[in-house]
Symmetry: C2
């Protein structure tokens, strides 16, 4: 097992689209998969209201774990720590939602309208401002990301 | 989005082999991918010493997040909460390691010897005794697990 350098960590974080968000809910670790993109040192995502958002509002520190796993002996995993921020400005919300949803060409009418109507009050757009990242790998770390992460 | 029933949660947890372990390290959520199997109400895994094991020894509550994601609108995710226990009895360690490693037919010599020599002092075999599980799904929840999770 080896430590990834800064560029390798940023490359994996930038290339993947699905990660697992870890936060604290009622004093315990809480982990959920999210769609995201990484830009300008922040991880952007969106969510409907629920336990994840309540947890992030109550305790703003969180992490995003992202991996590319070929098999048990050939994998890379990164962990990015950051602070939760809600994006409230309509123009920013719209840009972020469009960038999140551009990866999914087959949107249902509900999702299309969500992408267009970024001011829908029940959709929360947020970011984690990343301040610390680590990464480890085992085996051949030059393998491409699994298709489902691209 | 709908809540999975108890059987659906157990089925996904039982069918997958890779999950994301969430625990508390230095007061923050810490998430890492692990190989595991689920049996008798517990999640079994193994690890070399490191931050994950230090965190689990210091704060024994943890969770395992497991998902089957076809795309952004068709996925299932479960979260199982439990308490960390180290398995120290050589016969139990051996059985667990063999079951963990049986899924990987191409073991390197190091891994083969690890599987055989379950008493190797630096390999930690552990379980989470699960006391609470939840699950949610979106879209067609009857889709099969992605191959990389089987």
């Amino acid at each position: 097992m080896r430590t990834l350098d800064e560029k390798e960590v940023a490359d994996l974080l930038g290339a993947a689209r699905i990660g697992r968000l870890g936060c604290l809910a009622d004093g315990e670790a809480y982990v959920v998969p999210i769609n995201y993109f990484f830009a300008g040192g922040a991880v952007y995502s969106h969510s409907l209201p629920g336990r994840k958002i309540e947890a992030l509002r109550a305790h703003g520190r969180a992490c995003l774990q992202v991996d590319a796993i070929e098999d048990s002996f050939n994998w890379r995993s990164v962990l990015a720590y950051g602070t939760f921020e809600e994006i409230r400005l309509p123009v920013e919300r719209r840009e972020i939602l469009q960038r999140l949803l551009v990866h999914f060409p087959l949107l249902t009418p509900v999702e299309s309208s969500m992408a267009q109507d970024a001011s829908a009050p029940d959709s929360i757009v947020f970011c984690l401002r990343i301040d610390h990242m680590t990464g480890v790998a085992e085996g051949d770390s030059n393998g491409s990301l699994n298709a489902r992460f691209e």
